[in-house]
């Protein structure tokens, strides 16, 4: 792959690897490729991907200072070596399809997004559902995916007046990104639809439907399908 990341000792037990300083599909792909290699080759690290960086949490007691090399320096040596090795086989990205009921009560800002982007409502839906997205990172709230890959023609500024309560499952556009609210939360992104799927469920074997690096597609559904899927998703 890839250029060598910049390494920054962030805390006693934390190292930050930085691959760039922009929200960019190619840089984020490097982040996830690196995360995958480190998962496979450096067990015992907690790996937290963001847009252009990876946080590594480690136990400094496992890396005692040796030959004048501090725990962080030894970890950097190990990590950079692991990132340099070629992949044996490239594991395919996980693909997750998210059904969405666009517009109406579920997407109260859809018409406004259409006006702001000078598109028809149908065009907004078609373009939003046509793209393939990448989960750049999860943050803001448990299971909230920041998705890269929005059609630039759909970029819409955030609302001036954020909502106190955005319903769980809301699919939204904020600037050049799109995302899904996993729970009822405050939020300023523009709501264009809603998924009946539960994105975050603490009692599920895998609590988050989405993981960093996953590929996501949205599938438009009608109200009857939404009801059926929502019934199936309720525990």
């Amino acid at each position: 792959m890839s250029s060598t990341p910049q390494c920054e000792a962030m805390a006693e037990d934390a190292l930050l690897l930085r691959f760039g300083d922009a929200i960019d599909v190619a840089i984020n792909a490097q982040v996830h490729a690196a995360a995958r290699r480190l998962h496979a080759r450096c067990p015992g690290l907690e790996i937290v991907p963001a847009y252009a960086s990876l946080l590594l949490r480690f136990d400094p007691a496992q890396w005692p200072a040796r030959e004048g090399r501090s725990p962080h320096e030894q970890l950097i040596d190990t990590v950079l070596a692991a990132l340099q090795q070629a992949d044996q086989e490239r594991e395919a990205d996980r693909q997750v399809d998210i059904p969405v009921l666009y517009g109406g009560e579920c997407g109260p800002d859809l018409a406004e997004v259409a006006i702001l982007t000078a598109l028809s409502v149908e065009q907004v839906i078609a373009r939003h559902a046509a793209a393939s997205y990448r989960v750049a990172m999860l943050g803001f709230a448990p299971g909230f995916p920041y998705l890269l890959g929005l059609d630039p023609g759909l970029a819409t500024p955030r609302r001036h007046d954020p909502r106190q309560r955005v319903p769980a499952g809301s699919v939204a556009i904020g600037g050049s990104q799109t995302g899904i609210y996993p729970a009822e939360l405050p939020g300023g992104w523009r709501l264009i639809g809603r998924t009946p799927l539960r994105l975050f469920h603490v009692d599920a074997p895998t609590p988050s439907l989405l993981r960093p690096g996953d590929r996501v597609r949205f599938q438009p559904i009608d109200a009857a399908t939404f009801e059926r899927l929502a019934g199936a998703a309720t525990p």
Binding site: E8, A9, E46, Y51, S53, L138, F144, V202
Partner: protein, 329 residues
């Protein structure tokens, strides 16, 4: 058998050592703000693991115990009484069934811990009994305690000092020395360099490492804001979100630094002008709004060294408590 919350206090929640290993899913750490105080409270009642304790803030709760229980108060100590008897902190006490424990305000410090023998019996969420108020995870759906809540006790815990239960409150004859918790102001906190420390204006850099800051009223388990001096960057920075940690010092456009605490989010997009040494996080957690702090620069090696020494001392103290309890039983 349980404990009924008659009054919740200002902000009371169950906390343990925190939720680890879930940051990639957007789940923060949470957990006790003053981890050493939480561990010592547990040790005094004979708990040895990661049992949840009740963390309360500035004003403690009033609780009715349906069964006899062994308790300990550590950290900031509120006024504490049971049926007119004052209860000491930093030791363990035996409360008979039916006791009403009234915790009031604190003369010093900000956060106290109430541990019970056997721990509170909350179902772990993502591996922890900590309450994450911001994310709404953990006991009571991730909210602070309210009047009428019932805190369940471990039903299998054989909770007795020894001998037959006494009808009165009994306090153990020895206690820990809490003086290390209560330092004169302003307390000095060690600060590791942050990504953007050198992007501060020269005057702001020297202010950060020399001047005294005051904790604002804008403080919770997520973060506390520091007032007193406005810090400026050489020029505005447009940053993208990156991982942040408890202890990360951020500089929002207001120029008032914000220190992230136990419930820090997993990512943030403000300039990062420092990282509090981990050993000093519990000391900051015991400062209350209006208290003053100052920072001094430290290296990673110094921070790791102090943290290791601090952990050794705490482990020795925990072991000594366990020995003393074993000898007494």
């Amino acid at each position: 058998m349980s404990i009924e919350v008659l009054k919740p206090g200002l902000l009371s929640s169950l906390q343990d050592g925190g939720r680890t290993g879930q940051a990639a899913l957007g789940v923060g750490h949470a957990g006790a703000m003053d981890v050493p105080a939480w561990r010592l409270a547990n040790a005094l009642v004979g708990n040895t693991g990661d049992e949840a304790a009740l963390e309360f803030t500035l004003i403690g709760p009033t609780l009715r115990f349906e069964r006899a229980a062994t308790i300990a108060l550590c950290g900031a100590i509120p006024t504490a009484e049971v049926d007119g008897h004052a209860l000491p902190g930093w030791t363990r006490c035996r409360l008979p069934a039916g006791s009403v424990l009234r915790l009031g305000g604190m003369a010093q410090g900000c956060r106290g811990y109430l541990a019970v023998g056997g721990g509170f019996a909350a179902t772990p969420v993502l591996g922890s009994r900590s309450t994450d108020l911001h994310a709404g995870l953990g006991p009571f759906g991730g909210r602070a305690l309210r009047e009428g809540d019932r805190l369940e006790l471990d039903p299998h815990h054989a909770d007795s000092l020894h001998g037959t239960p006494q009808p009165q409150v009994q306090a153990q004859p020895w206690s820990l020395d809490p003086r290390a918790w209560f330092e004169p102001e302003p307390i000095a906190l060690a600060l590791l360099p942050g990504t953007h420390t050198d992007r501060l204006e020269a005057a702001s850099q020297s202010m950060l490492h020399g001047q005294t800051f005051r904790l604002s009223k804008d403080a919770n388990r997520t973060a506390c804001r520091l007032d007193g001096h406005r810090l400026d960057l050489q020029q505005p920075l447009e940053l993208i979100s990156e991982a942040v940690l408890p202890g990360t010092v951020q500089l929002p456009p207001s120029g008032q630094p914000i220190v992230l605490l136990a419930e820090a989010p997993v990512t943030g997009g403000y300039p990062r002008i420092g990282q509090l040494a981990a050993v000093d996080l519990p000391r900051l957690a015991q400062r209350r709004p209006g208290d003053t702090v100052c920072f001094h620069a430290c290296t990673l090696e110094e921070a790791q060294q102090r943290l290791a020494e601090h952990r050794d001392r705490l482990e020795r103290l925990l072991a000594a408590i366990a020995r003393r309890l074993a000898a007494a039983s």
